[in-house]
């Protein structure tokens, strides 16, 4: 049994389990599924700076912080107890394209030559962590949600604005992958 759990889980298992998070949150506490609001609650809790957007009772929304705390803990448990010893299987075409761009480490879930701790104070770290992270936080709040709030919760509830947002996420990702990343890899080479 543990052997099966240790293997990478197929998309239909993950899809069903993530989909079930929607009714689970609704039924155990009348909560709408969405992760990016946690970033806003952290702003509201730590540095509201009298900005109206952060002036609310964040303690009332604290469930969301428990939820993301759980996600972090879940990541720890999965990696420590259930991790797959084999290297990740990536599509050959993607591996070839990324190698051509200059990615060398294909052993783990993340390339250590980009996201390793020793990259934090390099140009790579500045682009992939600082700029990338900033766009994730700024963009999700500007869009009013992320993959969970818009793509999963919003589309499950048949909301047209969520479809528009999801299409925009994908378009941004394609532009980033095909146009921006080649420039970035040239810059850091």
């Amino acid at each position: 049994m543990l052997e099966i759990i240790r293997q990478p889980w197929p998309w239909y298992v993950a899809g069903v389990l993530i989909g079930l998070t929607v009714p689970a949150l609704l039924l155990i506490g009348n909560k709408s599924f969405g992760v990016s609001s946690s970033l806003r609650h952290i702003c509201a809790a730590c540095m509201p700076s009298k900005i109206p957007f952060f002036s609310y009772d964040w303690k009332k929304e604290i469930w969301n912080l428990f939820f993301v705390g759980g996600i972090l803990l879940g990541g720890l448990i999965a990696m420590q107890l259930l991790s797959n010893p084999e290297p990740i299987q990536i599509a050959e075409s993607t591996k070839a394209q990324l190698s051509a761009l200059g990615v060398k480490d294909f052993s783990g879930l993340m390339p250590n030559d980009i996201f390793g701790v020793d990259q934090i104070f390099t140009l790579k770290g500045l682009i992939f962590m600082v700029f990338g992270g900033f766009m994730v936080g700024f963009g999700t709040r500007y869009a009013g949600g992320c993959t969970s709030g818009h793509a999963i919760m919003g589309l499950s509830n048949l909301q047209l604005p969520s479809l528009i947002a999801t299409i925009s996420f994908m378009v941004g990702g394609f532009i980033s992958t095909w146009i921006l990343l080649p420039y970035i890899f040239k810059l850091i080479a």
């Binding site: 506490g29 469930w63 993301v68 996600i71 990696m79 682009i127 992939f128 992270g133």
Partner: protein
């Protein structure tokens, strides 16, 4: 169906994941969201959704994996919401489940594009960011802090941005 229960709950403006429970929750009872988060985080890692490589495969149209995950999640979510509405299923506290219709604004396009750019670079949306840190990629703490800063900057300049 006559709706007798009409409550006004104060939310932070435009929160996509509001707390709609009328009954007050003690701090301790929030542990159930932590447990749900743990399960969610395990799925993230075991299905390799937190992997920068899987996100690259998705945007290079080289694998069906991520499309399958997100697509299945939407179908399961949609069926669940349909059933909750159809049979008026109540929460464990016996409350009516609240849904929030979203209204369109241009932020969904501009913000969506910006998030998409960042998604392909970091290989993470906000949920997987937390799971990446938990699974030992400690440098992602910088990504998370920067994402929090991005959220703050949005809040600060919100009035000046086109919506």
């Amino acid at each position: 169906m006559a709706e007798v229960e009409e409550f006004v709950i104060e939310h932070p403006m435009e929160c996509e994941a509001p707390n709609d429970q009328i009954k007050k929750e003690r701090l301790f009872s929030n542990l159930k969201y932590l447990v749900l988060g743990v399960l969610f985080g395990i799925v993230f890692v075991k299905a390799e959704i937190i992997s920068w490589f899987r996100i690259q495969e998705m945007f290079r149209l080289a694998a069906f994996h991520m499309y399958g995950v997100i697509g299945t999640a939407i179908v399961v979510g949609a069926i669940s919401i349909f059933l909750i509405k159809k049979f008026n299923i109540k929460t464990i506290e016996g409350e009516k489940v609240a849904f929030h219709p979203k209204t369109f604004n241009k932020g969904q396009i501009f913000g969506g594009l910006i998030f998409g750019l960042g998604w392909a670079i970091t290989g993470a949306c906000p949920g997987p960011l937390f799971a990446q840190i938990g699974s030992g990629f400690l440098a992602v703490i910088i990504t998370l802090l920067s994402a929090i800063a991005g959220t703050w900057v949005y809040g600060k300049f919100r009035d000046k941005l086109p919506h």
